[in-house]
Symmetry: C2
Subunit: 219 residues, 2 copies
Amino acid sequence: MPTPARTAATPASPAATPRLTSKGRATRERIVAAAAGLMFENGVAGTSIEDVQLAAGVSTSQVYHYFGDKKALVKAVIAYQSDTVVGAQEPLLGKLDSVAGLRAWSDAIVRLQRSRQCQGGCPIGSLGSELAEIDDEARVDVAAGFSRWEQGIRSGLHAMHDRGELRRDVDPEALALATLAALQGGLLLTQIRRDTVALEAAMGAMIDHIASLVVAVPA
Amino acid sequence: MPTPARTAATPASPAATPRLTSKGRATRERIVAAAAGLMFENGVAGTSIEDVQLAAGVSTSQVYHYFGDKKALVKAVIAYQSDTVVGAQEPLLGKLDSVAGLRAWSDAIVRLQRSRQCQGGCPIGSLGSELAEIDDEARVDVAAGFSRWEQGIRSGLHAMHDRGELRRDVDPEALALATLAALQGGLLLTQIRRDTVALEAAMGAMIDHIASLVVAVPA
């Protein structure tokens, strides 16, 4: 991951700048959003600071002012994508405490992939796959992003379990992690095959499995 | 994906050189194996022709002689990794026609990830995630590699279905694809989390699902 040398003229600035004016926050946000879009399309290695600067309509020194180096920008992109993915799914993630809710969530993700012509895969998973072995801090940040997503699934399954709707011997946490894995694998295969068949098969099988673990609600 | 300009001194050579001496084949194989190892560790973008040349102990002109450009080398690496992954699993892939065979296969993959300290993820999936949006030919080659893998799983499930061990209404092809997706997602989460919990949860849930679709063998 090449990081162009910072010139003496650009002030060192911590990645998480504590105080920014509202204009500064907006500029920083615009840079991160532009970088996230480019990295989603071309990968981290395929995105230069110059590409980001051009796409965000700012100067190179502004990018370095807000982020210090490419590694810090990548860190901000991981946080941005985690917020975006989990944020966009929040209304559906809050309703994963039923088989119908799980299917509605899965259907929405399938529709989203279709609207993207099955390009790009998972914005968090793609970053993780590219960075895991070359930037350990990025790997840990991606893991944290996945955890937030997993937490949404887990809450729904825990609620079903607590209400006695899932068999007592079911481990909701293992099932939530398995569901996230099926989703990630389905998204990767969707990206590679350019169709949603694998995503539908994976999520369908996992949700069928969960449905098979549902018991009659106690009277 | 930067591809250094080929000098006039290096002859243009098709990627799939039709006739090579046994020494030529061995050199070509050594270059591909070295490139595959480096790309598994550092990604395609993080691996230069110079890195490959040094690791393989050959000259840069030899790399260009056998592969023409980096794109052709990447193509050879995808084929090599598909052969390696499917080849290594062949003895187990041939026995996926029972729940016990599926569990043995899954256990072997979990052990392999542990022996790698959960680093690297899937050699095919990682290439696919990195290349899908920037090299469409590579994406198609990765899809072909996945298909060979899927075929192994599908054969086992088809055999169970044909023998009447799986419920009649089960689609073995969808189930095979779902299993490959669970495996891929489990491998990605294993790489990101540096533990095999997600892989075990994903494969465990998918194989439990398959087990729940098994009916008593007709007398």
